[in-house]
Subunit: 341 residues, 2 copies
Amino acid sequence: MKKITLKYIAKELNIAPSTVSKALNGYSDVSANTKKKVVDLAKSLNFSPNTQAAFLRTRESKIIGVVIPHISHPFFVNVVKGILDSAEKKGYLIIVLKSNESYDLEKKLIEKLLKQNVDGVFISLAQDTYDLKHLEAVKKAGVVLIQYDKISKILESSKVVVDDRNSGYLATEHLIKNGCRNIVHFRGPLLPQVSIDRFLGYKNALEDYNLIFDPKKVITSNKMTDKEGFRLMNDFISKKIDFDGIFSMSDYTAIGALESLKKHNLLVPDDIKVVGFSNWLLTDKLTPSLSTVNQPGVLMGNKCFELFLKEVNSKKKKIKFKYEKKIFKTNLIIRESSSLK
Amino acid sequence: MKKITLKYIAKELNIAPSTVSKALNGYSDVSANTKKKVVDLAKSLNFSPNTQAAFLRTRESKIIGVVIPHISHPFFVNVVKGILDSAEKKGYLIIVLKSNESYDLEKKLIEKLLKQNVDGVFISLAQDTYDLKHLEAVKKAGVVLIQYDKISKILESSKVVVDDRNSGYLATEHLIKNGCRNIVHFRGPLLPQVSIDRFLGYKNALEDYNLIFDPKKVITSNKMTDKEGFRLMNDFISKKIDFDGIFSMSDYTAIGALESLKKHNLLVPDDIKVVGFSNWLLTDKLTPSLSTVNQPGVLMGNKCFELFLKEVNSKKKKIKFKYEKKIFKTNLIIRESSSLK
């Protein structure tokens, strides 16, 4: 269907298909007159720019666009590392883009990638991404879409995630088993699935161990920085609510909370036990060293590329392809901040 | 000259310049016969593949290739962040590649980038890069080359660095002023200029303060990891050489050394004062917090892009362009590990 239409335009206008392609792509070596004819006819046939891009994909670009929400987060750096390691072996180049957790920017980046004729788009969604048309457009353009980490449940594509709910459960259960009865949860923003799932894991663990779930003990951290963790912990302590444990959905927030606890002369792990999430570099060197949930970022990056290649090869061989969802197990790393004694 | 030759081939063979371009680029919609004719003539005119690439640069790709030695190093992540921040505003996309500190891989990556028709190559050299032909090729291809951090003194291009020698001097001087008389230096591998310059800064400071330079107190760390720092420090301590200070050319090595000192019951900063280099994330959260030299990675990334754009615009306007070398000042961050307590 696609090829017929490209050829159809060429035939209608009695020009070469390559000229049609050039005209639609804005090349300068096509006359303004020809360009107008092509674009007008294309419009009358109701081409969207993205489907045009798909038409023009006569050969692979061997380029993949990888969208990360922010680059300072070691987890995303690890994912990129995993993608680079795998992609390099197969001769692919990686364009790295950061959405700064902004849906608007994310949309623009995707448009730019499609214009660049990339073979694939790997994305971890921005915190505030609610509409998914820009990602539907990726698929419509014939470009392979892989979602990783912060994914949409409703948008179909291959996906690479960790078992966030179970991870949240295990971290909380560990605190309970080490004697905590009043556990504070630092959660992420409301929208991302990872934030919801880690919270649900925390909640389920409390329920399974017959501990009362108290919404006042759930603190929402939007920026998830050490400074915010410090500030939010100070605020919480000022409310004089009893607590003996903290499960934070990010290491960085947990580190800020640790500083607040120190300031308030609360001893870790004696008075308060703390578990973070992500196993950031140097969290093992802190005093106390930080217990945390290890996300296999590099392996996740490897897997993103593997699923991409599988889909590309299926398309080439015209084999029916079924989206895959790879759920990585995490492992709880128990260090001083949550140990007994 | 370049354009004349491309047109010359087209004229000689009585075909369109775009066909010559396609033939040289390996497009599939040129007949094998034509392709052979073009390639043979191109060869007889002694085209190198890279100058071919330059011929074919009929329009900007708006893509820049950024080569980093390794991605797990927060300094390089910061440089990439700075480049992305600036590039995005001007509509450029960034291909990130890592050389894994290997000259051989670096060479391959550069070839791949030139084939992709990038507008610029930003590079921090691999540790063992000794030959620079692959980078000369970048310039010959009409692609803007920017060197940053680990640069070659002899290869001409715009460059973005920190004042490594002065930084090494200031770190060492600080230790001397705080009472150290026997200062160990963890240096990097022999080749990179940054490693040489930081070492020279250390040596000059000793000389200026009439302290004896003792090569036995200079320890070469090739991998610059915490594990290596730990092992090398253990080895050094076993030699029973007196020392009261450490200036390490990397934070990660310094952190390993700190662990070794702790194991040997040497107190920091009381017995031994320690200064690292780079201001890695979380070095301020360690106990003791690590004194270090702060490299402005993000600003360096911004500057790389600024110098690139300047060169591109000069070329467009056919204005004579003079390479610039931007030397950023670092700042010494004094924390607990080197304080007078």
